[in-house]
Symmetry: C2
Subunit: 364 residues, 2 copies
């Protein structure tokens, strides 16, 4: 067999449909991710513009607006919800704490603005269902911001698997960890507050990466989960999952062994073992890193080093490309709802020690 | 901090006590592993000699004796059990199918010959307990042949963890797989026959590598397990675990996410994520491979490439060194019995879907 991996086109935008156009974004929530990752990514994109910034504080919004070219309006959350400056933006990017996604989705749907919503979709399955339903009922395009799905290394991995080049996938290992309280040295941060983060701190924020990336490359969904969660250190008393280990049995038979931690060395890897080969991506889940893709078949190993690609630029341009060409963006609400159901099952499995089934997604 | 990894002494025999002496082995069971791995390893060792070969067939025994220098006696199983040629060997290496270890251990114990017994120790917990008891009752030294425990890369990994260089271990990923029916193209082989292999084909034969290596580098024991086992392909109808995924919660809190398969790409890796660093060994569990050890702390990565070390030579010399210096060899029966209990729990967890406790080892 011939293993095809076109090196020169490794980072190609296989999804691209449109040739021109611009989508002006309202950015809702101005934490470090928005300021340091999303806004520079939009600034360097092909189809997107930073247009409106929305924060709890008018001073902060004004300051962020001053720091970024092209921003025409700085709004408070209240002003946004009241419908201020609707003509100044074409779509919204929601990056508030998990439990505060829904009200901005509802407002955007009311205003007829397509929604790019950060993952996880909301703080609970019930609220995530409301996100999906309000978009479905109003015909509002909804994409959940799984940046791995537009990462070229992950898309090439999916193509290799689809082509059968590693045989049938058998087992997946995935891991993502960081020392959260070193990265953000504040014990009162929202990720450690169940009222804002939802079920927990680690599976919701980090474990979702191996979970969703596995679903994406396999084109499969989890049917049952097992999990072990533990919190021991200072600062993690209100969440069950300082450290999380969980296993997903997927509907194609593949088993995903995943771990994540908010109190460990910053690290990430993703590996698929198949009947005839193996693929390792490492590092994989953090942005702005040189990627290494290792592909094995029999005794032969190929290693591809991929320069950093701005994942957020890819993600924003993909979403804009869909809007500009009247295509439905993916990951859609139904896809993301399956993640939320799997995550809820993981927390239940962690609490009970039992295997917990995951309700299949129904077409919305 | 200074990360110490003495490159020139990477393969040093930190266990070495004796300076001279010879241990003559009776090799019981003459499958390909004995002929192609064990006997050449003994031939190239410092302290060991091939002396007696024992097989079901006198022709096969004679043929193997002819092919290897120094072998003085070729015996049938019956002749060995009858006590023939006891003066010609000092210790036994038992490498029969799992369910046939016990009678040869009992005979060796009766003859006062130290035992190196392949892993897993026997086909069931009950029979493994009999192995341990008969050696304890007669004062016979017993070592179970976990060759990873004398692999220099694994020993250096344990030292790095013990020194605290990756902080506290948090999570371990381990995997071992091979296409068994390609490696040994015989559907009637003993590893697929529950009467000879015991609980199953994959956890018993391959899963035991990440399981035991995790215990060894952590110096910890499993307290509970979860598992997902499946058999789908032709040839695997009599065993539950063509593919196996299992998780061990250890008594130090570390969780081990392990997978193994007898019907997948030949592959192996072992990874420890700690609060302050990460170690990856890959490839790790197959003999005669160049090893790569990757150690990360913060943003710094060190990669060490280790030339192949003959694991079996290391293991035989370690065992002989213990015997020649009147030291107790490790892994001992109590250590190996914990593996057997963990493995039995994994098969039970695979059948029930529940979390199953592992009975702690008691000092023999």
């Amino acid at each position: 067999m011939t293993f095809e991996l076109p090196i020169d086109e490794f980072t190609r935008r296989d999804w691209r449909r449109s040739s021109e156009g611009t989508v002006r974004f309202a950015l809702i929530g101005l934490g470090w991710w928005t300021r340091e990752e999303a806004m520079p990514a939009i600034a360097s994109s092909t189809f997107c513009e930073n247009a409106v910034v929305v924060s709890g504080s008018s001073e902060k919004a004004a300051s962020v607006a001053d720091d970024h070219d092209g921003v025409t309006h700085a709004l408070t959350y209240e002003e946004f919800l009241d419908g201020t400056a609707q003509d100044a933006y074409d779509a919204v990017y929601i990056v508030t704490p998990n439990a505060l996604h829904l009200p901005y989705v509802e407002a955007a749907a009311e205003f007829g603005k397509p929604v790019l919503c950060e993952k996880p979709m909301e703080a609970s399955v019930e609220r995530a269902e409301q996100v999906v339903n309000c978009c479905t009922d109003t015909g509002t395009p909804l994409m959940v911001a799984y940046r791995m799905q537009t990462d070229p290394a992950v898309r090439r991995t999916r193509e290799i698997i689809e082509a059968g080049d590693i045989g049938d996938p058998v087992q997946i290992h995935g891991h993502m960890s960081q020392p959260l309280l070193d990265v953000i040295p504040n014990p009162d941060q929202w990720r450690l507050d169940p009222d804002l983060t939802g079920y927990g701190a680690t599976v919701m924020d980090l474990g979702i990466y191996p979970l969703n990336t596995a679903r994406f490359v396999l084109d499969a969904d989890p049917v049952s989960v097992r999990a072990h969660l533990r919190s021991e250190s200072t600062g993690f008393g209100d969440v069950p999952d300082e450290h999380a280990s969980f296993e997903l049995v997927c509907d194609d038979g593949t088993v995903v062994s995943a771990t994540a931690s908010q109190n460990a060395q910053r690290a990430s890897h993703f590996r698929i073992v198949g009947t005839e080969g193996e693929i390792l991506l490492e590092p994989v889940f953090y942005p702005d890193q040189t990627r290494f893709m290792t592909v094995r078949r029999g005794e032969t190993t190929a290693e591809v080093q991929v320069p950093p690609v701005n994942q957020m630029t890819e993600e924003f341009d993909y979403f804009a490309d869909c809007l500009l060409s009247d295509a439905s963006p993916y990951a859609d609400g139904a896809h993301a709802l399956t993640d939320m159901r799997a995550i809820a099952a993981i927390y239940e499995a962690g609490e009970t020690g039992e295997t917990v089934g995951v309700e299949p997604a129904t077409d919305e």
